[in-house]
């Protein structure tokens, strides 16, 4: 029988992993369609948390509505981000420039710039300290299951994430939009020849990915009761690590890696001080880059 402490840590780790997974999906989808890393993804997470917080303090809606508001704010942020930081650099439509290195470097800078602007703007408006969250909305009510204690937030995070993952899987595999997203990820030029509106597909990808990131933000904000303008940085890094471990553009790979990462971080606290648990992600990143540069699950090679 497992030690109750370990079980407890596993439960926490699973929640953590699910949050990283929600974040990592956004990174992964966007990397898939454009071959670029969206450095503003962490700020989208923060925007989701703040949008939820503003809704709570303005009119105190039910939790589900708060989550939807965060989703919508994330979608809007994703849309704006693509328009401001990515679209202007995409002037030519042939294969060479669509996923070119120049484009990658330009958008790396522009998305980083957007992230700094967004973070500083939030600090100017809200101040850099923790925001007070209405206690009634915190999802940390304890639930006792046998020897271990989890909080209702663990269940909510698990439930919401599973719904989102299931929805995403359905979207990508069964819907025309999902087919377009996968087509653009796989071969952007081929997608153009098939009559897919690549610009629209890219926007939709940003909207979906950012909505999920924002949802992760509000969930974490209510789980820990800690909402502040720079809250997106650390989860952004973790999600980035999960994306790299998963092989850059594989959604299932990123989700599995995110869960592994969450569980490992949480279990690591049983044998080392918890302030060191962030090191786990960096260690994973290094090990992945050294030993599995194609990602843990191995990228498929294209036949020429």
């Amino acid at each position: 029988m497992l030690d109750p402490y370990i079980l407890q840590q596993l439960a926490i780790g699973l929640s953590l992993g699910m949050i990283y997974a929600l974040m990592a999906i956004g990174f992964t989808l966007i990397f898939g369609v454009l071959n670029v890393v969206n450095f503003a993804h962490g700020e989208v997470y923060t925007i989701g948390a703040f949008a939820g917080l503003m809704a709570i303090s303005a009119f105190g809606p039910p939790l589900l509505v708060v989550l939807f508001i965060a989703l919508a704010a994330g979608a809007l942020a994703g849309f704006g981000l693509e328009r401001l930081a990515f679209r202007p650099f995409r002037r030519f439509s042939d294969e060479a420039s669509l996923k070119s290195r120049a484009m990658r470097e330009a958008t790396l800078m522009s998305s980083l710039a957007m992230s700094i602007i967004a973070r500083e703007a939030m600090e100017m408006i809200f101040g850099s300290q923790f925001q007070t969250v209405d206690l009634a909305y915190l999802i940390n009510k304890p639930i006792h299951i046998g020897p271990i204690t989890i909080v209702n937030g663990d269940l909510i995070i698990l439930g919401v994430t599973l719904v989102m993952l299931g929805g995403l899987q359905w979207l990508l595999k069964k819907s025309p939009i999902g087919l377009s997203i996968r087509a653009v990820s796989n071969n952007a030029l081929g997608a153009k020849y098939c009559g897919i509106n690549t610009d629209r597909t890219i926007i939709i990808t940003f909207v979906i990915g950012s909505a999920m990131g924002a949802l992760a933000g509000i969930l974490v904000g209510l789980y820990y009761g800690a909402i502040f303008p720079s809250m997106g940085f650390t989860p952004g890094i973790k999600a980035f690590v999960a994306m790299v471990m998963g092989g850059l553009s594989s959604v299932p790979g990123a989700v599995i890696s995110a869960i592994i990462l969450g569980l490992s971080e949480s279990l690591s606290t049983s044998f080392m001080p918890s302030v060191w648990s962030d090191m786990v992600a960096y260690a994973f990143l290094l090990l992945t880059l050294i030993f599995f540069p194609q990602g843990l699950f191995g990228a498929r090679r294209e036949r020429v």
Binding site: A183, L189, Y193, G195, T198
Partner: protein, 238 residues
């Protein structure tokens, strides 16, 4: 017969480079027209202009009288031009069926049976990853994907490239069969012999300009074509 696709005085500059200069090609309804020439003379650039991947810097491209040269690639597909492009550009880590359905766009699986009848090999491989197939099968998928959309004009960019001679024959037969079903075909080829055999008219491009044009049978007997592309004089080989 009326013309379905008319390319008039098309020119293309990329940076300071003149890629295409004053190109005019006409494709009649149910016609097979080929554009011939060696590597790097601008054939693929011409095809990319028609599909809206590049935008021509001069001239116009008329599809049933409407100028499409300023449209985006997806708008051009909507108006009825599909291309089986150079390098095939299939979705290699998706299944064959998914590739076909993406090509079909709003038509979904309407044309699936028809396309599978043309390419029985694809039917056996519907669930297989497209990238795991042989080059010839990928070429079939590429053409099949374009046909899924029931285009008014089918553009084929080097369909015979890298294929075994037996498959080149298959592709030639296929193009004739497609024409009999009512499609117009614009074909770009380096395999001049095969292309001239199935085409009605042909144009030869050199350095971005059309240097010879006319009926395919006339071109096949033209000493200039014979010397440059068919490896010898017609009189000797005929």
């Amino acid at each position: 017969m009326s013309n379905i696709l008319e390319i008039k005085n098309l020119s293309l500059k990329i940076g300071i480079q003149d890629i295409l200069h004053d190109i005019s090609v006409t494709v009649p309804e149910q016609g097979i027209v080929s554009v011939l020439g060696a590597n790097g003379v601008g054939k693929t650039s011409l095809m990319r202009c028609i599909s809206g991947i590049y935008h021509a810097t001069g001239g116009e491209i008329l599809l049933q009288g409407e100028d499409i040269s300023k449209l985006k690639s997806h708008e051009i597909v909507e108006r009825g031009i599909m291309q089986a492009p150079e390098g095939r550009q299939i979705f290699s880590n998706m299944t064959v069926l998914e590739n076909l359905v993406i090509g079909a766009g709003p038509l979904g699986r309407q044309e699936l049976d028809h396309v599978l009848a043309l390419f029985p090999r694809l039917e056996e491989r519907l669930k297989q990853q497209a990238g795991s197939m042989s080059g010839g099968e990928q070429q079939m998928l590429c053409i099949g994907r374009a046909l899924m959309r029931k285009p008014k004009v089918l553009l084929l960019d080097e369909p015979s490239l890298g294929l075994a001679p037996r498959l080149v024959g298959f592709i030639c037969e296929l193009v004739s069969k497609i024409r009999a079903e009512g499609y117009a075909v614009l074909l770009v080829e380096q395999n001049v012999k095969a292309a001239l055999r199935i085409s009605d008219t042909a144009s030869v491009i050199e350095h971005g300009k059309i240097v010879i044009e006319g009926d395919a049978s006339a071109l096949a007997n033209d000493p200039r074509v014979a010397e440059a592309y068919l490896g010898g004089h017609v009189h000797e080989t005929a």
